[in-house]
Amino acid sequence: MNHIAPGARAGIYHYDEIDRQFVAERVEQFRKQVERRLSGELTEEEFKPVRLMNGLYLQLHAYMLRIAVPYGVMSATQLRKLAAIGRKYDRGYGHFTTRQNLQYNWIKLEDTPAILHELAEVDMHALQTSGNCVRNVTTDPFVGAAKDEVVDGRVYAEILRQWTTMHPEFTYLPRKFKIAISGAESDRAAVRIHDVGLLARRNDKGEAGFSFYVGGGLGRSPFVGKLVREWVAEEDFVAYLEAILRVYNQYGRRDNIYKARIKILVHELGLEKFTQEVEEEFARLRGPKYRLDPEIVEGVRQHFAPPPFEELPDHSEALERAKAADPAFANWLAVNVSEHKAPGYAIATVSLKPAGGIPGDATCDQMDLVADLAERHSFGELRVTHVQNLVLAHVKKDELYDLWKRLDEAGLGSANAGLIGDIIACPGLDYCALANARAIPLAQAISARFADPIRQRTIGELGIKISGCINACGHHHVGAIGILGVDKKGTEYYQITVGGDPTLTTAIGDILGPAVTETEAVDAIEAIVDVYLANRAGEGERFVDTLKRVGHAPFKERIYAAD
């Protein structure tokens, strides 16, 4: 196999020979499994979990292949390979997901072994991106760059990536299992809507440890993760998770797919009893066998050593000049650029949400361009965010204007990170066999309605999240405005919720009123925005805060007044 080396400075985990051998063996294993399916030795029922564990999912019209991007971080070389695969085997584009992965929506089963082989050339695969196993562990897309970072989540996410890979005990769980880690003061990883959410922190001695939240999740029964343990020392990190998974694997429900997630177990057992079970397992597991040796942590940490930042003044004259000369750039700077911990550097969010576009989609040409820009401006590395954007994490302030111009020419310069145009949408009925309604066209219509970047900025922080069915892949429960597609006698309707919050102050949104049609939905969103703007106490008051203060009544009145 050709191996294409990634840039040495990129903040990714760099494979060694053993990692490569592992992936090559898995590719070969899957090739044989496909053969055994074709020969009839494996039934379709038996093949299904095997194929899911390799990222291959059957959608409405075709197979979807979901590629793992561990904790959303990849090198420019890897992104270029994803572009090449999209061109060769798909329709010239790919879709970035809320799990910080990338998926191709139009894949042929017979092409998959070849695709997996090509992915392996750049140390990538599709393992455990689907199926009832521990999925790709996600983390803060600003990891290693954010000014408010306390612990580097990549280190522990990588440890979990390894530990959960082909875990012999936890590959046939009652249901899928999602873990997120945040190591900063602001939670940019939505930890409390995960099966296990980890807040990495430091004690007064400077040692790393973790708060464990368990049983969060959306879907048809949304729950906010509950604090099971305030402090788990670094050396117990793996043991504690092993204990949680063992309790879940034994006691999680297997009689009903909708009640099989760990959130239901925590809910039915009660937090106290669940915690007691976990603590008992943990007390017994704790010991040399499951102890996370500081040397391992250090070894993994070395992969994520900071890139060679130049010593720069924090103030950039070039940036100030560009800002003064180009208002559109100034707007993007204010909205899409975040503070970096190194002086003279900044974090740039590349929006995959152009007005009227499909959230999270990127053409292969766009991927190539971002790969080039990552090489030129960000040490050859980029991140995928759980809101389906990309991030160049280490850009010199002096170079931001150049970067933005190139992005903007390619339709990637939208200034809407965190604003109303930054919509999360699931694939919906356009692709998904489970969906009741389409999500993408509605996202397109809303973002077109609010296309004006200045209007968006005036409205301020306001996340819209759309799911095409109750499985809630579009995270609608935690959208400041959430939209859920429902089917009423063959017609698509949309139920609107308000007040959701994916950050540490996690909240599930409340239903505003009866579901509306697609056309009405766009008007309803605009009405909600108008009511907010008319009622907010000054520009600093966010939509969710105004909503808390004035309640649902003025919003309901406006939307449903005509009924």
Binding site: I18, E46, E169, T171, L173, R246, N249, K289, I296
Partner: protein
């Protein structure tokens, strides 16, 4: 049904006696956990080896106190997707220190064999007509593991290690 041991089809010295049928005293037999609960006194003084079969919903703790009575514990997989048995075996070994044979019975597929071995199973009852090659391959096609295994006494000093092949 073919018995798989160490990646090969082996001789099965055991037989399962359905509930209600007489239990022979002169050869190794497996009885159901339910029968054991109901008739345990009748097995006092038995010389031939005894095994017990646990349904997938019966977890290790249920049999823990009686483990010294059994030379074999058969763990049932009602469906291959129901992975409780992996934890049952691991608990039997790690938590309750069981050293006898642990056998996977019911619906398991060769693609799970490596996982079974790594969680403490020693044998598998495979369906009639199974392809022995697939079971043999299952132990050798992936040679790397990222977690400590049951037979592995080394601590988690390195997450990644080569599996002993063969």
């Amino acid at each position: 049904m073919p018995l798989i041991e160490n990646g090969r089809i082996g001789e099965d010295a055991w037989s399962f006696i359905p509930d209600g049928e007489p239990v022979p005293n002169d050869r190794p037999v497996i009885i159901s956990f339910e029968r054991w609960q109901a008739e345990r006194d009748s097995f006092e003084g038995r010389n031939a080896r005894l095994g017990v079969r646990l349904k997938s919903g019966t977890l290790a703790g249920a049999i823990a106190a009686d483990l010294d009575r059994f030379s074999l514990v058969a763990v049932e997989f009602a469906k291959f997707r129901d992975g409780r048995g992996f934890s049952t075996a691991r608990e039997l070994r790690e938590r309750y220190g069981y050293t006898g044979e642990i056998r996977a019975v019911g619906h398991v597929i060769p693609d799970q064999y490596l996982y079974l071995v790594r969680t403490g199973f020693t044998s598998v009852e495979a369906p009639e007509g199974t392809n022995p090659e697939s079971w043999a391959n299952a132990l050798t096609e992936v040679t790397i593991a990222f977690q400590p295994s049951l037979d592995d006494t080394a601590p988690l000093s390195l997450l990644r290690r080569k599996l002993k092949v063969g």
